[in-house]
């Protein structure tokens, strides 16, 4: 089956408080995620804006905030710059979990929901086909009309 999620983990030689700041504060997000700044309203449902110097802007939406433990948000990795609001069906879920490991922090990230993107893509394909059938119908009528006129 096509994998529906990606999981990555690293151990950082810094306390969870420090790692938490880096993954949730705009000043830092704009450096390691985007490269041209970021905005974040750090509460469930809060808006995120991520900027890249070359790719433009992407929007995110905060899902869960449990200080120093868990932080998650949705974002639309396929959207064009400045794209639409990330909701279920057009976006993936990124979940960070932090775990103290002695003086260090175990940081884990899971990006999931690739298959649900899929469903919406399928819907779009259906819509697209619906449209092209519409066009085929109309061009058919046009041809009939042209043939009548020519006759």
């Amino acid at each position: 089956m096509v994998p529906n999620q990606i999981e990555r983990e690293t151990v950082i030689n810094a306390p969870v408080e420090r790692v938490w700041e880096l993954i949730t504060e705009a000043e830092h997000l704009g450096r390691w995620f985007g490269d041209a700044g970021a905005e974040i309203d750090l509460r469930p449902g809060g808006a995120m804006v991520l900027r890249w110097s070359e790719y433009g802007t992407s929007r995110g939406r905060v899902v869960a905030v449990e200080p120093r433990t868990r932080f998650s948000y949705r974002w639309a990795p396929f959207r064009e710059p400045g794209g639409e609001e990330p909701v279920e069906g057009n976006s993936t879920l990124v979940e960070f979990t932090l775990q103290p490991d002695g003086d260090a922090t175990r940081l884990r990230v899971v990006e999931s929901g690739f298959a649900s993107l899929a469903t919406s893509a399928e819907q779009r394909a259906k819509n697209f086909n619906g449209n092209s059938e519409g066009w085929a119908h109309e061009t058919g009528e046009l041809r009939e009309y042209a043939e009548k006129v020519a006759a």
Binding site: R8, N13, T119, A125
Partner: protein, 105 residues
């Protein structure tokens, strides 16, 4: 970020469709009738699944009399795997950046 794999994800999101594709890969080729004979779904359902797989570029069909004979196209699957690997390595790079920033103090 472009997503060549989006249509492929769409096509593979359905478990029955995945079985249709796997069966085709195993048998080398097949028709809606032959595939329906080996799956707990109707021929009509298999025809629909094959059409979606075809649109995603995962199978190609060749008309033979009244039936269309399908084979698997492997390139888009490889593309999807590479695309997922690309996303994974982006996360590796991001985690490495967080680690660097955290450890620099």
């Amino acid at each position: 970020m472009s997503a060549p794999a989006e249509g492929v994800f769409a096509a593979l999101a359905d478990p029955t469709r995945w079985r249709v594709l796997s069966l085709l890969a195993e048998r080398g080729e097949g028709t809606a009738t032959s595939l329906a004979g080996e799956l707990p779904v109707s021929r009509v359902a298999v025809v629909k699944h094959l059409a979606i797989l075809d649109r995603a570029g995962l199978v190609k069909g060749r008309r033979e009399g009244r039936e269309v004979r399908y084979t698997v196209r492997t390139e888009p699957l490889g593309e999807t795997a590479r695309w997922m690997a690309g996303i994974a390595s982006q996360w590796d790079a991001r985690l490495a950046a967080i680690k660097r920033m955290a450890e620099e103090g």
